[in-house]
Symmetry: C2
Subunit: 390 residues, 2 copies
Amino acid sequence: MVNFEGKDEYPKKYFFGSSCAGLKKNANDVLLIYSEEPANFSCVFTKNSFPAAPIIVSKRVMDSSNKVSGIVVNAGCANAATGNAGIKDAEEMIKAAMEATQSKTPFLVASTGVIGIRLPVEKVKKAIKKAPSSFSIAGEEAAKVIMTTDSFPKYCITKYSDYSIFGISKGAGMISPKMATTLTFIVTDAAATNEFLRKSLKKAVEKTYNRISVDGDMSTNDCIFLLANGASGTELTGEKAERFQRSLENSLMRLALMVIKDGEGATKIIRIIAKGFYRSDDARAVARAIGDSLLVKTAIHGEDVNWGRVLAAAGKTCLPFDVEKVAILFGDTKVFKGEVQRYDESSVKKYLKGNEVVITFDAGQGKEKFEYITCDLSEEYVKINASYRS
Amino acid sequence: MVNFEGKDEYPKKYFFGSSCAGLKKNANDVLLIYSEEPANFSCVFTKNSFPAAPIIVSKRVMDSSNKVSGIVVNAGCANAATGNAGIKDAEEMIKAAMEATQSKTPFLVASTGVIGIRLPVEKVKKAIKKAPSSFSIAGEEAAKVIMTTDSFPKYCITKYSDYSIFGISKGAGMISPKMATTLTFIVTDAAATNEFLRKSLKKAVEKTYNRISVDGDMSTNDCIFLLANGASGTELTGEKAERFQRSLENSLMRLALMVIKDGEGATKIIRIIAKGFYRSDDARAVARAIGDSLLVKTAIHGEDVNWGRVLAAAGKTCLPFDVEKVAILFGDTKVFKGEVQRYDESSVKKYLKGNEVVITFDAGQGKEKFEYITCDLSEEYVKINASYRS
């Protein structure tokens, strides 16, 4: 049994194993993340009215247990809209993970894939039991196991002298804020209380995953799990707590950007900065209205300096503005301030050819702002989603 | 000067004329709707935070005048985000229309086309003055003048023995409820007070244009104008008022369906029926969440029986449901009731090949329902909007 302790950039006493239950074609689809020392943890779950069975079961784990032995995940079947039978299947996955690792504390469970199909639970259990035999896989391989329409594995690692943080994520469509979005798992060998982890994760998600969108759709299975097993002996207090917070936010943002970059059919990242508002809620509403506008997303895809659509989309909020004070910038170029500005269209067109576009909407009122990150909308998005059964 | 009185299906004493100001390529782009007898009227305007100049000016007409002589419209330039200069241009259009028809009462004004470009107002005025020389054009030709990305003209006529209703509409993208959506003009030779017309139009729009969506985007220029010049001598009171209401709703629904049918890149109409709710607002929220979901719209485009996306989209509302009671139907086939149902996938797939798809979401709680009409999302939508400057 080889673990990550040999590769000193990984958090201590975590083991990643994978195997194949036949849910994905010719690829491993079951991932077992095991912490040799039961870990403190916190979770953020989707707010969807119809949470999938693993979400329901992981919530129960959170309510009934102070520690977990790790996370058991499958890709290829969401185990969503599967009724009580599905809940039993998710519980069986936890049981199999505990047996496979001879753990007494439970696991968190997550699934991703097609909605409305029962898990072939016997096959999945068999695969879970086989997973520990591959406890040597690297982070990249772990990230690959949870991929569905993703085109590349998403993982990141941060190593300090006294502890490390490692995270994986998946997602390319059905991504929108108002909850966790995507499956994301973060493990650290720092030591922290559940209360600390809960506050820390909530704050970090608010600043990262809750600000991204691919298509404005929300999944039944989204969750972010954070585990801290304390194996490094480093307690997260004082300055160390602050450094951890920055580092967690940084890790989540790196993963979130990978998700956007891998947005189905996306060719460009679009950053919407709504600023100059009296109320931050208004800044958020305007940034989202612009970032979720199909007309804005297609215009940017077409590399068109179409600030008129940005203005119209912001106006969808029906908020009151003093139009004379409103400015719109594409990159550094002011294209609108109360009315159209003189600008060099060819240089802005050239700017739009880049793979990251910043659109700033300045209400010209107060000091509140909100940044929202999305991607363009291409024919390819439609092609993928007209054929893939999610 | 030929008018519609010769063609007895049209409302009496209305004249439609068109001409070319060079805003569209090789097509007439200015439309003058003239009522020989000043007409009572009512309007519904976009709620967008950045209303275009013609919206601002038409609101002023509504506030300052009890009657109008008609409607003056241009296509090809939205006269939006054009500041005070744009407002002056819209006022000039009204002045030109009044001069061209020697009217003492004002006109309503509307524009559609690209945002953020000044009107070439001298050319537009010249075209308006020429319009009366073509006062013989038929309804279809009038509807053609206001087309932008529309692929066919949208008009409808209802003839009773005692009066008629005639309407035209335009729109294919940037269509979403919460306001009027599209330019739509309805004229009748029945007689009614402004108060009656206001209530009647508001109610009819709520049941028709406020229930359709192509892409969830809201325009700066949307408006619906209703004119009643009383030339038929028929007063809309008692039963006649009720018949008029039904007829107005019917006309608006016919026009609204034409807009959806012409939705950019659309290949299918999708009717979302959300029923079984305690609160009608919840039914509306769920119908819209499903109908606005890109994943649902692309799945229907791909003719995929993907009820999982319907469930996930409904769940985006974060409303509480008793999932055991929730049912989803594609056409008449129940595909979900608490969990997936046994159904003949091939027959549902065949159903989805049709050009109209009905998706029913039954919350299984109360008696409130809401119907929402949209279209599928195709690669063609993206292609159109990545290249067309709206």
